[in-house]
């Protein structure tokens, strides 16, 4: 009894000691992190960090500078590997250690960072809307002073340059891009090849010969569930009503209850009604897995509407491992209103710089080059933001890149350009509408209310 009591006391002492140590480590972690950054930002006493920040305007790519650059992005898994492969030659050449952290919650992480001042040197930005907000708060560094601006403009499609510019400052550059509004099909099932008119697509989907349904739709995407539906609606808006309505709409100047937007919702609703498993399948299925019934026997659906990334990231991992060109192919969603011929929507991964360090500068300079972007492109599924990249590993990527290069009207994904509150409400509206198609009036009404509110501040 005595012995066990003694042992217990020792145990408590040990526990107390451990908790004190843990507290100390926690304390120094919190305090120390900030302290060191301050020291790093303002002094030159570090052993290797001898370059005064801001004093060097250009750092040659081949120059050995060493040090560290911190990067936060949304990429995980295969995409993270692709990014790390992209920066590997840079690390080798410059000796800079690229410390990458991937998070799905990038918006919250960076929003909190902009408020508190604890930010990575370089980060993937959630979208142009959020980027513009941070740029106006002065959190992002003008890349005109970092990059060779003229070369950047010459090598990048004008739409992308414009999207990265806020108040005459270049604050975001595109690392890779994807075009949206592709109609994927399995050539073994749909033998009609590419279609050039939307009416033909609808007719084919209605008939869905050889398959259970016309479409495969999947909206599940964790906290971002619903976004594939917003892509559908955006593709309808730009093809039915043109870029002017599209721009006014994402800028908050065109009401959701207007006939143009309602028409787009209804067109999407028709597709859901003619989809494999109906709305229940659409709501419960992850966007990446949605097209799986296209490759089953008997096939579940004829078409799948999704961005170009399906080819690189999802189709290859399906159970039947479909091959590009043989088992899956695509055509661009055709023109609906002939007045707006060749309109295309897309998206891309934006990168911005929060801290002006020589390492961050060198990294940004590297990432925009054709040489760097070619590395990701070679891994499949990505289209370069740099027009000098012309070699693509497979016919599907090649076709996407050509479509992007030749598109007459190119618009960025509208929901990504909307304020975060509007974007989120849009996602939710898509889910609500998919679940209760009869409530469209109330749903659009609610979106109008959010619109009146979200663009104010």
């Amino acid at each position: 009894m005595d012995l066990s009591k003694h042992g217990l006391r020792r145990f408590w002492r040990l526990l107390a000691l451990i908790s004190v140590l843990a507290l100390l480590v926690a304390a120094c972690g919190g305090n120390g992190g900030g302290t060191t950054t301050t020291a790093g930002g303002t002094t030159t006493s570090g052993a290797t960090d001898t370059t005064e920040p801001g004093s060097s305007t250009t750092t040659g790519e081949g120059e050995e500078i060493g040090g560290v650059v911190t990067v936060i992005g949304t990429w995980g898994g295969a995409e993270e590997e692709a990014f790390l492969a992209m920066v590997a030659p840079f690390e080798e050449r410059t000796g800079v250690d690229v410390q990458y952290t991937g998070t799905r919650d990038i918006n919250t992480v960076l929003s909190a960072g902009v408020q508190s001042g604890i930010l990575p040197d370089v980060a993937g930005l959630p979208g142009p809307g959020q980027m513009a907000e941070w740029a106006r708060q002065g959190a992002l560094i003008d890349l005109k002073t970092v990059l060779d601006y003229e070369t950047y403009v010459a090598e990048t499609s004008p739409a992308f340059v414009e999207l990265g510019t806020v108040d005459d400052q270049l604050v975001g550059v595109f690392i890779k891009s994807a075009i949206k509004g592709l109609i994927w099909y399995n050539p073994n099932v749909w033998t009609g090849g590419d279609l050039d008119s939307w009416d033909e697509v609808v007719a084919a989907a209605e008939a869905h010969e050889g398959a259970d349904a016309g479409w495969c739709i999947g909206l599940e995407s964790g906290a971002a569930s619903g976004w594939p539906g917003t892509d559908w609606i955006e593709d309808f808006v730009i093809r039915q009503s043109g870029p002017e309505v599209y721009d006014a709409w994402y800028q908050g100047q065109h009401p959701w209850t207007s006939p143009e937007i309602r028409q787009a919702f209804e067109a999407y609703g028709e597709a859901v009604a003619n989809s494999f498993g109906g709305s229940q399948y659409a709501l419960a299925t992850a966007f990446g897995d949605a097209a799986q019934p296209m490759f089953t026997d008997p096939p579940g659906c004829l078409f799948h509407h999704q961005a170009s990334f399906m080819a690189g990231e999802f189709f290859p991992n399906y159970p039947s491992s479909p091959q590009p060109g043989e088992d899956f192919d695509f055509f661009i969603m055709p023109t609906i209103n002939p007045d707006f011929q060749g309109a295309l929507t897309g998206a891309g991964d934006l990168f911005g710089m929060f801290h002006d360090t020589p390492q961050a500068r060198a990294l940004m300079q590297w990432l925009v080059t054709a040489e760097a972007q070619q590395i990701w492109v070679d891994r499949g599924g990505a289209i370069s933001g740099n027009t000098m990249v012309t070699e693509y590993p497979d016919p599907v990527s090649q076709k996407s890149a050509e479509a992007l290069a030749t598109s007459e009207v190119f618009r960025f994904d509208a929901s990504d350009l909307m304020p975060e509150a509007m974007n989120s409400a849009f996602w939710q509206a898509v889910l609500d509408y998919t679940q209760n198609p009869g409530q469209l009036d109330a749903i659009l009404q609610r979106l109008d209310e959010v619109q009146a509110d979200a663009y104010g501040g």
Partner: protein
């Protein structure tokens, strides 16, 4: 002053001003503020005067030498430090003639002075120490400056924090020796409490005040808008849905956990495999909410009917000849599906507390009742429950608080879609929409809802402790 330091945090240039040192310095100064004021007695000594003069000169010199570093983040602290030193110098100047006459040298080196010096030296030296040590260490780590600095910080904090704390206690005791005994008794608790009060202020009082204040300002935080954010809260459909769901959580979650815990605790009481059975019920407590959500997402998986049901529950339903249900999305049902997950995690907690309550009931009471011919149900209803009431109150209020705070499960399973939103998640949403004013308003509402429950909980808990 605290607000000034907060203001300097806004990253206009992308660089971070010296906020961390700022708060450390503020902490030190607040620590020394009291003894400096209360202890004029010491200031009669010339040694003190000389040291003050030297300190003042050193501070001036340091300020000159490290001007760039000092100006940005340190300005408010420096102002206060300089004022403090100046005041002490004045007091000393008065004291010196008296000291000359009395020649009283028996008193040791003034304690508050030591503390002041220590605090100021730390403020000045911390970044320098960090830099220097970081530079040395970084060479050890193959030129990795960041790792070097971090290790340096760890070492300094590991040595510095205990040193400062122990030093504080020693010096405070040292100081109190010089008071009369009555004053010692009055002053000592406050001196010992001061650091804790300071932490309480920094991490509890100030943030609460900041949140309430922020909730009265607009999105940008620049103009005062009164109760507009609260008006939004009680009029927006999202928050009203969230409120409704929270009420559902309050009722159903609390009922499930408390009743479930009570049933398990009663039925397994003094059963042969009691500890084993209880362990099984308790194990989910060890799982984080997010992990539990992931587990239950698999349990709830729904596949489009021709394909086989891979979710456990739907597989069972189909095996029994039923129709599979998409639990997470089915309107009306999904809230209950989420609550079940939370209850699964927390029922073990209720069980443990209630079981301890049952064990503390005097067995003889129940035996006596049984001898008198009471049925088991009567024993439970008329004897156990009344005696268990205080414990039940504590468990229930604890569960009420958890129900109000629900976030993780909803976020991980539905992200608040399909009408499953809750208040805490709405707060998070508003935060991610950059609506800090509204997010703060939601937080304040949540706080206001929790405080009465919390107060009752603590009172009840105290009362129970008194009984023991």
């Amino acid at each position: 002053m605290t607000e000034d330091t907060i203001e300097t945090m806004s990253p206009d240039t992308g660089e971070q001003p010296g906020q961390p040192e700022g708060s450390v310095g503020t902490a030190y100064l607040a620590m020394i503020g009291f003894p400096v004021g209360a202890h004029r007695w010491y200031l009669r000594h010339a040694t003190a005067g000389i040291i003050y003069v030297v300190t003042f000169a050193l501070l001036a010199l340091a300020r000159f030498v490290f001007r760039e570093r000092v100006e940005t983040g340190f300005a408010p602290i420096w102002t206060v430090a300089v004022i403090l030193v100046a005041v002490q110098l004045l007091l000393d100047a008065q004291a010196i003639p008296r000291w000359v006459r009395q020649r009283d040298r028996s008193v040791p080196l003034p304690a508050p002075l030591l503390l002041l010096l220590g605090a100021l030296a730390t403020i000045i030296l911390l970044p320098l120490l960090l830099d220097g040590l970081g530079a040395v260490l970084s060479t050890l780590f193959g030129g990795n400056t960041r790792v070097g600095r971090q290790v340096g910080t760890v070492i300094i904090t590991l040595v510095g924090v205990p040193a400062v704390l122990v030093g504080y206690i020693v010096l405070m005791e040292h100081t109190t020796w010089h008071f009369t005994e009555v004053w010692q008794r009055r002053v000592r608790p406050w001196l010992w409490l001061a650091p804790a009060l300071l932490f309480l202020y920094t991490f509890l009082v100030y943030p609460t005040y900041g949140t309430i204040r922020r909730s009265l300002y607009d999105q940008a935080g620049t103009s005062f808008i009164g109760l507009d954010n609260y008006e939004w809260f009680f009029n927006s459909p999202e928050t009203l849905t969230a409120l409704r769901n929270n009420v559902l959580w309050l009722v159903v979650f609390t009922a499930l956990t408390v009743i479930g815990g009570l049933i398990v605790a009663t039925l397994f009481d003094r059963v042969r495999y009691e500890s084993f059975a209880k362990t099984i019920v308790f194990v989910p407590m060890a799982i984080s909410f997010v992990a539990a959500s992931v587990v239950w997402r698999f349990m709830y998986v729904w596949n489009f009917p021709p394909s086989p049901q891979t979710g456990t529950i739907n597989a069972i339903i189909v095996a029994l000849g039923g129709e599979p249900i998409d639990f997470v999305r089915a309107p009306g049902l999904n809230n209950f599906a989420l609550i079940v997950v939370a209850a699964w995690v927390w029922v073990g907690f209720c069980m443990v507390i209630l079981s301890a309550g049952i064990k503390s009931i005097d067995r003889e009471l129940m035996e006596a009742a049984r001898v008198d011919g009471a049925t088991e149900w009567q024993v439970f209803r008329r004897i156990m429950l009344p005696l268990l009431a205080p414990t039940l109150a504590v468990v229930t209020t604890t569960m009420l608080i958890f129900a109000l705070k629900t976030f993780d499960i909803v976020y991980a399973m539905t992200s608040g879609n399909f009408d499953t939103n809750v208040i805490a998640l709405e707060m998070w949403n508003q935060f991610s929409f950059n609506q800090y004013g509204r997010a703060s308003a939601v937080a304040v509402v949540l706080l206001a809802a929790i405080i009465p429950v919390m107060a009752y909980n603590i009172r009840q808990f105290r009362r129970q402790e008194e009984i023991r």
